[in-house]
Structures are given as C-alpha cells and as structure tokens.
C-alpha cells in the first residue's frame, strides 16, 4: 500500500497568486494512497524541506510529490531532502505548478483544476517508482578546451596549474583569438598583446597542456568523465619538430597578396605564413587553397629555402582519439559580415571599416604600424564618425540583443584616435551608452570631457560618398530628431557581435543547446552560467553571449574551477535513469525474443547480445542486455521493443501509462 506525501509550494506568491494551493492540497489529501498533503509558502526553504523530512519519518511515506517549480530547477534539492530522511531519492517527483501552470494561466478554477491534475498525475507515477541507486563511473582526468582565445587560454592554464591534464584545440594556426588583434584594452588602455602574449607562451610551455593548433573537433562521444574526442589535425605541411620558426619560407613564398585574416584584410600574407609575429606556436602553415604548388604542382620555393628541410607537401590530415573527462567550450564570437549593412556602404567604400579593422589600424603591430591612415589612400583622416549599434539591438535586422562590448570599445577608439591625431574630429553616434563595469563610466566620460569626442545620440540612416567624402546622415534625437549630416573622411562601424562560424555544428557535435542566434546555452542564466545542460561540458567567453575581456576571463576561471571540482572525485555517480531488459524465471529467462531492434536504435551502442546457456553450456536463447556504463537513458529502445521486454528506469511503461490514465480519468 502506497503512502504518498504531497507538498504544495506557494513559491511566495508565484504559484498562489493564480492557483488555489489550499484547495489543491485538500483535494489531493482525499486521493487514494495519499497519506499526507500540505501546502507551504516556500517548500525549497530550509523549514519547507524539514516539513518534508519530518513527514517522511512521521507518516512513514513511501513516496513524495513536491508541487512547486520546474524539476529542472529544484528536483535535486528535494531528492536530497528525501535522501536525508532515508527515503530513496528516486521516490520523489516534482509537479511543475509554476512554469507550466501558475505563470502561464490567469487566476481561476481552470488553473487550479489543471494544478490538481498535474499533481495527481505525478502521484500515480510515484506510486510506481522504484528505489534506484546511483551508478558509479570512473573519471578520465583530462580536460578538452575547444578554442584558444583568451577564454580558452585562461581555462587551460587554470586547469593545468591545478595539476590536471589539458588538451587545447584551436582551429587557426595560432592561439590568441580576437584579443591578440586588439590594440589597447579598455578601461585601462594597456596594450592587449603585452598582457596576452605572456599567457600564450605559458600555454606552450606548461607540461600539463597539449596544444593542437590548426585542428578541429570532429566528434565527441561518451558522457561526463568518460568522453572520447576525435580531433582532426589539419595538415600544416610543415614538420613542427624540425621547423625552427626562422621565417625564411614566408619570405621565399612568391605569393604575397593574400588578405591576412589577422589584419582583417588590411594587410597581406603569403601562402605559407605565421599569422602574426608573436604567434604560438611560432611555426608556419601552408594555406593549401592558395599555394601555387598545391594548385599547379610547381613552385616549392619555400622548401628550397628552408634551412631545416621541414616542409612536407605530402603531409595528411591526421585524426586522433583522446579520452576526455570534461570539456570547456571557448569558441568565441565573430562580427557580422559586410553584406548586412548595404546602407552604410560597408564593402563598397574602403574607408568604411569595422571596429576590428580599426583595432588593427591603431595597433603598433598592425599594417600601418599604429598610425591611423585611411585604407583607400593612406592619408590621415581628419574627421572620423563612429557608429555604435551597427546591427545590434535592431529587430528589423534580426539581431535584438546588445553586443555589449561596442559602447566601450567605441569610446576607446575615439579616444585613441584623438591621442594620435590631435587636430582630428571624432563623432560617435549612439543609442544609449551602456558602461556598467568597474571604471567603465569614468572611461567613457573621459572621452567626452578630456578628449572632446562629440557624442550624438541618434542613429545613422545612410552613408554615401560625395566628392571623396563620406556623407553620414543621421538624426540627433536630443535636438528633437534634427537631421545631422557629417562629411567624414572615415567611418568605423561597431558591427554586431555574432556567434562564431560553425558554432551550430559544434553544438550539435557536443549535444549542447544553443539559442536562436547560435550562441551556446547555459544550464541556468543565473545560477549555472558556465554549465551546459550536458553534464561535464562547460562554457566560457563570448561563445555564450557577447562579452568583454574581464568577464570572459572570470567565466573561464569559473569553468576551470568546475572542471577541477569534477576531477577531484575518484569516481562519479550517475543518475540510474537507464534502460534494463527484464529477466524472469526459467524456462523463459526473459520475455526478450532476441530481435535486437533495440540494438539498431541505440545511439550509444549500449545494447549487447547475451547468451543464455544451460549448465552444460548449451545455448538456450539470445537476449538483449544493456551496458549500464554506456546507456544514457533516452529510452528510444523502449519505444522500439515489440515484446515490451526493455524498460526505462524512472520512465517505465507502468509509470507513464499510469500518468496518462490518471490525467484522463
């Protein structure tokens, strides 16, 4: 006989405002098998939890239904409370009265009736719950960090410095990411390279870090503590062990006119190249799509000049498999492509550049060696217009979100420009200034007050060329939307930050969720910001949403601490939500008929064939058997099984049919 306890939470007023919690508790009290039914203001609070604990003991409950918020929020909390009262935690279920009921419906009988239905459905389920015991699995103490920007570098170093192994994978020839392209950083104006390159070198020298550049993750299989990563090491066409990084090959390469990715197309590189002088590793790769030898079979200039004989034209892509315990995704962001802003003439007029291009023009290591020069004719621009929110916060363009970094870097750009061109004029068109951060507001005020940057609140409608000048037409909304027209020499667009190329396909490889804009989704926006919904996979940096360097670094360290925490366990416990094939007494042994449909349906290859034999070793029958270490509990096999011999613990046929029957009774 079941003795179920029902606990209805008011969630302050979040539930009780539209659901009559008292009525729900009273109705449930009279349901068969319910031994105890109460409502309380905050079930998740300590007094709320002790209500549950004492009821379990006093009323000898055999199961618990907590009707509160989403189980995705508090199921672990209440299961833990049950365990403390010595009730198997898997005998506790949650009814979602908040997200699925009180928050989405108006106050009324229909809402209360729905709440009663939801709770009684779970009561019927929990009557059929069985005690389950967590599964113990070993942990591979190696972390995979995907993406070698500042987020990946920080995470890798933190994990490595805690004594754990790290594999850092970067798809470009060098680590460093976007931060290596920046000139100076707000709000302190310290040189980006000066603070970043020592970290890059540290990564290369740390014995706990294995660095794979020019490499990409092909696939990830397995589960927390026990992943297997397949990594494609793209052919660099250079033997890294022999190469000394002398640079003779790059000088010898007859192709010089390939737009450099590092210099955002403002500088050129050869077909064999090191992306930038401080690259780590400082060894070249051959861009096979551009190399004369790979296109026509002739040239080999680089090989003839290489003193170390390190050029390898016949090198192949290599795929390696590495056992991994945990993953940190730090793949960063990109900026919106050019065709997105035809009205601003980007792509049409050379002197309309993106913020990232302007960083290169300001950078001492950039194509102009830090002098601000127009890309079209190399003259120093005397009037620059900066356009914030280019694409961001613009629902008509499909990007509703704020790119977060633009307000600050635009202030920095205008400031640095004024520092370099004293008689120049700088205008900034903005929607709002979002300068929340330590020293941020002071920084942007300085641009206005000390460097006399002209801030105009309004948007730009169009930019076009007239007599060699860029005509910027906009409105000044603080002057009653008065039209403003500025004849500029150069325009810098603070283009929207978007998810990096390939983010979606990587998310699919890793089985983590992503949002409508292809940014990776955190498990909880407030309380689990660096975790994904897939256990053992963590996020840091701009791959989750646009963010600046300080925030990225703190998130990277947070993700690293999660990994280190995970690795501090000798073994992990996994939820026992797995499939099992039934076993019965001889002569049947199992109702499984051995069709093995389940085997072909299982995405994890977790189903094996087991031989049932007599004592003499004679085969009686073949039946399916689930490997509990591999099964992830999706239940696809259960729906496939024709003889209903396989079932999913926690979501058994008995349980789910009981739910349907109760709902419609």
């Amino acid at each position: 006989m079941s003795r179920i306890g029902v606990f209805i939470c008011h969630c302050g007023e979040n539930i009780s405002a539209t659901v009559d919690c008292e009525k729900v508790a009273k109705t449930l009290a009279s349901m068969p098998g319910v031994a105890h039914s109460v409502d309380y203001k905050y079930m998740c609070s300590d007094p709320g939890q002790s209500l549950i604990r004492s009821a379990i003991k006093e009323k000898k409950l055999t199961g618990v239904v907590v009707a509160a918020c989403s189980p995705r929020m508090h199921e672990p909390t209440f299961r833990k409370a049950c365990a403390e009262a010595r009730l198997n935690p898997f005998l506790c279920e949650m009814a979602n009265l908040r997200e699925h009921c009180s928050w989405v419906h108006a106050k009324g009988d229909a809402t209360t009736d729905k709440a009663i239905d939801l709770v009684s459905m779970l009561v019927e389920k929990v009557k059929r719950n069985k005690p389950l015991f967590p599964i113990k699995v070993p942990v591979t103490k190696t972390a995979l960090v995907i993406g070698g920007g500042i987020a990946g570098i920080q995470a890798a170093l933190d994990i490595a410095n805690a004594g754990q192994k790290v594999v850092l994978v970067e798809r470009e020839p060098s680590i460093g990411g976007h931060m290596s392209q920046l000139s100076e950083t707000f709000p302190t104006l310290d040189c980006s390279q000066c603070i970043l390159t020592p970290r890059m070198v540290e990564v290369a020298q740390n014995p706990n870090i294995t660095l794979y550049t020019y490499a990409e993750v092909e696939s990830l299989s397995g589960f927390i503590g026990n992943f297997t990563a397949r990594i494609r090491k793209k052919a660099k066409s250079v033997d890294e062990k022999l190469c000394t990084g002398c640079g003779e090959c790059a000088t010898a390469c007859p192709i010089k006119k390939i737009p450099s990715e590092f210099n955002t197309g403002l500088g050129m590189r050869g077909a064999i190249y090191v992306p930038f002088p401080q690259a780590v590793p400082n060894k070249p790769v051959i861009d096979r799509s551009r190399c004369t030898y790979f296109k026509s079979g002739k040239c080999k200039f680089c090989a003839s000049k290489c003193p170390a004989q390190a050029i390898r034209f016949d090198q192949q892509d290599e795929i390696i498999e590495i056992p991994i315990g945990s993953v940190v995704v730090t793949t960063g962001f990109n900026i919106k492509e050019t065709s997105f802003f035809p009205e601003y003439g980007y792509g049409k007029y050379k002197d309309v550049v993106t913020g990232l291009q302007f960083e290169r023009l300001l950078s001492a290591s950039g194509p102009t060696l830090g002098e601000v020069k127009r890309p079209s004719d190399g003259t120093v621009p005397k009037k620059i217009v900066f356009v914030a929110c280019t694409g961001s916060r613009d629902p008509a363009k499909g990007i509703e979100y704020c790119s977060k970094i633009c307000c600050m870097y635009t202030a920095k750009h205008a400031m640095l420009y004024k520092h370099k061109v004293h008689d120049g004029d700088a205008y900034v068109f903005y929607m709002d200034i979002r300068a929340a951060g330590k020293g941020y507001d002071e920084f942007f005020r300085r641009a206005i007050e000390e460097d006399h940057v002209n801030y105009i609140r309004g948007r730009i409608s169009r930019i076009y060329e007239r007599n060699g000048k860029l005509i910027v037409r906009g409105a000044d909304t603080l002057l009653g939307a008065q039209q403003v027209e500025i004849e500029a020499d150069m325009v810098v667009l603070a283009t929207a930050a978007v998810a990096n190329d390939g983010a979606e396909s990587l998310a699919q490889k890793l089985h983590v969720s992503y949002d409508a804009h292809h940014f990776f989704a955190e498990a909880h926006p407030k309380l689990r910001p660096v975790e994904t919904n897939t256990a053992g996979i963590f996020l840091a940096g701009a791959c989750q949403s646009p963010k600046d360097i300080p925030e990225t670094v703190s998130q990277a360290s947070a993700a690293a601490s999660k990994v280190i925490g995970l690795f501090s366990n000798a073994e992990l416990t996994r939820e026992p939500i797995i499939a099992v094939v039934n076993r019965t007494a001889p002569p049947l042994f199992s109702t499984c008929v051995g069709c093995f449909m389940c085997q072909s349906a299982c995405p994890y290859h977790a189903i094996e064939q087991e031989e049932i034999k007599t004592r003499e070793g004679k085969l009686i029958k073949m039946v399916a058997k689930v490997n509990p270490g591999l099964c992830q509990g999706c239940g696809t096999c259960v729906a496939f099984c024709r003889s209903k011999s396989i079932d999913l613990q926690g979501y058994s046929n008995e349980q789910v049919y009981a739910e349907v029957m109760e709902l419609l009774s």
Binding site: E99, S513, N533, T636, Y651, L663
Partner: protein, 145 residues
C-alpha cells in the same frame, strides 16, 4: 457562435528541448490556454505511440508530441527515430479513421517559449472547432480498436 467545449489535450514532450521551452514560456510569463497537460519524457524517442492510442482511448480530445529540432537531440538521434515512427503511425491512425488534426507533432527548442504557447493555443482552437473526440471511443465500442 457559442462553444463551451473545453478540449482535453495531453502533451508528450522531451525533457531537454520542449519541456525546457515550456519552462521558458513560464519564465517569460507568456499566457496560453489551460487545456494542456504536459507529461515529461527523457526524449521523443522514448514516446511509444501506443501511449497516444491510450490517451485517445481514455478520452483525450487532442495530443501534442514535441521534442528537439532535428540535429539538436540531446541523445543524438532519438527525435529522428520518433519522426520515422510517426510517419508509419500517422498512416495507421488515418487508416483507423482518427482525424489526424487531433495530433500535433512539432519541434520546440529550449529557446522557443513563445512558439510553445503558440502551438498550444492553435491546437486548442483547432480542436475546439473539431469538437469532442468520438472516433476512437466509437471504434472500441464496435470492437475495432
């Protein structure tokens, strides 16, 4: 036209996408019809379509099945299996004479709170138009199902 009929609708959803999407509907405070009751499954791959028949046999007026978008399955391919089974199941249901407008199959991701509300509302409206489900009960009375 007066229509007091309130359909009973059961939603079979996966934990990772649609259940989370419906949670988002809640956190976004988007309102929808009260007629739907959500049953949580780990994956659409787990949803045995006999459950849908059971629901109709028990008097459900409509059913929603929803999970992760193709390629987004938490378990790699459960939603593909569900979709494949659905094609066969749909033909069988049609053959049996069940109005397929009573069954909604959709993909709702964890980021699509508004879409979930929309699906519930359109399903409720459509089924309100169709009226109470009689087909299956009629069939079981005749001993067909």
């Amino acid at each position: 036209m007066e229509n007091n009929f309130e359909p009973k609708i059961v939603a079979f959803v996966c934990n990772w996408c649609t259940y989370a999407g419906a949670d988002l509907t809640g956190t976004s405070r988007i309102k929808y019809a009260t007629n739907v009751r959500i049953i949580r499954f780990p994956c659409t791959g787990r949803i045995d379509y006999n459950l849908l028949l059971k629901a109709f046999a028990q008097g459900a007026d409509g059913v929603i099945v929803s999970g992760c978008h193709p390629n987004d399955c938490h378990y790699t391919s459960g939603n593909f299996h569900a979709r494949r089974r659905w094609i066969v199941f749909k033909q069988m249901m049609e053959y049996m004479g069940i109005d397929m407008r009573r069954v909604k199959f959709s993909w709702v991701s964890a980021a699509e709170g508004a879409k979930w509300a929309d699906i519930v509302n359109t399903t409720v409206n459509e089924i309100r138009e169709l009226g109470p489900s009689q087909e299956y009960l009629e069939m079981s009375r005749q001993g067909v199902a």
